[in-house]
């Protein structure tokens, strides 16, 4: 498998996501797309589901996309991508076109975990040759921070507020990677724009395999997570370094860690940096630390820094 990006010199200079889009200040999704498009190159079609990216990048008469881009609805990015893939494949086979393009479907956590999971499952099961990128900012940020099934335990959102009877989100995040991998797809990986080479190399590998690939990217959201707009990249790093967001890939069913964490940071550091966890008591934090410890054991991460 190719590992094409090691230093800045390896990166194409061309920017395929134009500046001036309307994503919030400090949003890490723009950074993610920029990195993904650098890895994918110009011969790429992007299908967006409804969400932050779609509304912020294509507000008519402007569009930030320098690659062909389309959006149809919220829940169907994967099935629109299926149609595009088959349309182009059929026309190529029937010698009606000589174009062959990368196809990337792009959905937020709501568009992937919740409303779009059926279309995604269908496309993964059918073995369509495309890459599905889920940018996970852990709630419905576009509509004003409502909980999704990707919202982590105890996080405050506008529809999972902490209160006398509530600690915030009452469930753990859905294990979307396990669900994607269960479809027997050739490639799945987690990523984070705080680790750009890792993300770009994974994008390349996802595009290179034949069949569906699932790229699952954590995108810290200053607006919804409530931290300073300068802190997105650091927040992503903390998610990885605390063991909450292990960076790994699953190739033909075999899991491999791509970024080792020799000394894990305590989860407290990550939680206390975000307003959405401000209501947590020490015992809640201890409970979440236990969850992070379990992830560390599962993926063979290093011990906790004391």
């Amino acid at each position: 498998m190719s590992t094409s990006f090691r230093t800045l010199k390896d990166l194409p200079k061309e920017e395929l996501l134009a500046p001036g889009h309307r994503l919030c200040a400090g949003c890490t999704v723009g950074t993610t797309i920029r990195q993904i498009l650098k890895a994918a190159g110009k011969n790429t079609v992007v299908v967006s589901s409804t969400g932050c990216v779609e509304v912020a990048t294509t507000y008519f008469p402007q569009s930030a996309w320098r690659v062909p881009w389309t959006h149809v609805a919220f829940e169907n990015a994967a099935s629109v991508a299926s149609g595009i893939q088959h349309g182009m494949a059929a026309l190529y086979r029937k010698k009606k076109t000589d174009e062959k393009l990368n196809i990337i479907a792009l959905g937020g956590d709501g568009g992937t975990f919740d409303i779009g999971i059926q279309a995604l499952s269908g496309a993964l099961e059918r073995g369509e040759d495309f890459v599905y990128v889920c940018y996970d900012n852990e709630a419905y940020m576009n509509t004003g921070v409502q909980r999704s099934s990707a919202t982590p335990y105890a996080a405050a959102t506008t529809t999972s507020p902490p209160g006398k009877l509530s600690k915030g989100q009452n469930r753990d995040k859905k294990d979307m990677m396990a669900i994607a991998v269960a479809h027997g797809i050739p490639y799945a990986a987690t990523a984070c724009p705080s680790y750009p080479y890792d993300l770009m190399n994974k994008t390349r590998r996802a595009l290179d395999v034949e069949g569906p690939a699932f790229l699952y990217v954590l995108t810290p959201c200053p607006t919804g997570w409530r931290f300073d707009i300068s802190g997105g990249i650091e927040m992503g790093k903390l998610a990885v370094l605390t063991g909450l967001w292990p960076l790994y890939e699953v190739v033909d069913g075999k899991t491999k860690l791509t970024v080792q964490v020799p000394r894990r940071e305590p989860i407290k550091k990550y939680l206390q940096a975000q307003g959405r966890f401000r209501h947590l008591k020490p015992e809640d934090i201890a409970k979440i630390q236990e969850k992070a410890d379990a992830v560390a054991v599962k993926f063979g991460l290093g011990p906790l820094r004391q």
């Binding site: 062909p68 609805a73 169907n76 629109v80 299926s82 349309g87 059929a90 026309l91 269908g122």
Partner: protein
């Protein structure tokens, strides 16, 4: 041209095969399923070179069709009832994003209670989606209309829905005259449309349309279907000339001297004509008007046909609960409201959920139309064939 015994569904499958479609995305639903079964058989046997996508729902079927159509491929799907309802939001997008495609909708009632038999509620509920809606009344017409639909769709860049009544047409075998494949190819050459997702163009398709622009963008789709009247007439006339048929937007039966008529759509037209014929022998000047092009609605042609009538009974095989009238009746009333000498209109709902509309039912409706016209006082909507 050879004649073969085909069901309405198989007739459509043959038309799709001859149209050399590139992509089919479909999900099984009764009574549509035999269309896509036949098509997947054609693909499996190598008789049709197309990508057949076994999607996991109708929502995804329509979504995949929109995606495939954007690449310039010729696209087909088929559905019925709940399937069409499940596609609902994407139907509007297919029209407004101007993605040509043809869909056969085998008309079936909407739940609840679950019912797999024929009525028109499914298509009526998607009336405002911006699709061209054609209605057929025989297997032959289903075959021919499907061929015309591809040409029409690609010329107008609008999606086209071909409606045929569940079971009555979809599963009934009739002799169908198939056009030679070479002649079909000549009629609709299989050349791809522009790939709107090519890096050569780098378009953004399906953007946010804020209030400063949405109205104009939406109007383009409204205007497109308004303007499709001309291509519909032309394509129909060309088809009639090339293949010896006599299709029209509006059909008139006995209307030269009719005083009372029923207005129908779909397969019930045949029964209405038989009863009109009988009534004519009994001295009632009865006629039947039927609509083939439901969207865009053939306003002027309809006015022309009903001119001079005393009473017109409008048969809806669907209902608008709580509304002032039912879908087809509303349209007819809107068409005629500006006329000085318009016929008295009487509204009927009949045949919901596959309830047979018997010759006696048609007699009742003709009679009630005459009574309403003679008294110049129509009754509220009559539910014909409903048990009390």
């Amino acid at each position: 041209m050879k004649k073969v015994g085909l069901s309405g569904n198989y007739a459509i499958a043959y038309a799709v095969k001859m149209a050399d479609v590139d992509v089919i995305a479909a999900y099984p639903i009764t009574p549509q399923t035999t269309i896509v079964e036949k098509l997947s058989e054609f693909v499996a046997n190598g008789e049709l070179d197309a990508d057949y996508i076994n999607v996991e729902s109708e929502h995804s079927a329509m979504s995949a069709c929109v995606g495939a159509s954007m690449t310039g491929a010729r696209v087909f799907t088929a559905t019925s009832s709940q399937g069409l309802a499940f596609m609902h939001e994407v139907l509007f997008m297919a029209a407004a994003l101007r993605t040509p495609m043809v869909m056969a909708n085998v008309n079936r009632a909407l739940s609840a209670p679950l019912n797999i038999w024929n009525d028109h509620a499914d298509a009526m509920a998607e009336r405002d989606a911006g699709w061209i809606q054609l209605w057929v009344s025989s297997a032959q017409e289903a075959y021919d209309t499907t061929l015309m639909a591809f040409k029409l769709s690609e010329e107008t860049r609008l999606p086209v829905m071909v409606n045929l009544d569940g079971y009555v047409l979809s599963h009934t075998y009739e002799p169908v005259e198939l056009i030679a494949e070479e002649a079909v190819r000549k009629y609709i050459p299989s050349r791809p449309l522009v790939n709107r997702l090519s890096p050569k163009t780098a378009f953004s398709v399906g953007v946010v349309g804020p209030p400063e622009y949405y109205f104009e963008m939406k109007y383009q789709a409204i205007d497109a279907i308004e303007r499709s009247r001309m291509p519909i007439s032309k394509i129909t006339a060309d088809f009639n000339r090339s293949f010896g048929r006599s299709y029209d937007d509006v059909y008139a039966y006995g209307m030269e001297d009719a005083e009372y008529a029923l207005l129908t759509m779909g397969s019930m037209t045949g029964s209405a004509r038989v009863v009109a014929e009988e009534l004519r022998k009994e001295g009632l000047k009865a006629g039947v008007v039927s609509i083939r092009t439901f969207r865009p609605f053939p306003v002027e042609r309809l006015i022309e046909k009903v001119d001079g009538l005393m009473g017109l009974g409008v048969m809806d095989r669907a209902s608008t609960p709580g509304g002032p009238s039912n879908p087809l009746f509303s349209d007819i009333a809107a068409c005629l409201c500006g006329l000085k000498d318009r016929p008295i209109l009487q509204s009927f709902v009949s045949g919901l959920g596959g309830r047979d509309i018997s010759p006696d039912n048609f007699r009742t409706m003709f009679k009630a139309t005459k009574e309403a016209a003679d008294a110049k006082a129509p009754k509220p909507c009559m539910y014909v064939g409903l048990r009390e």
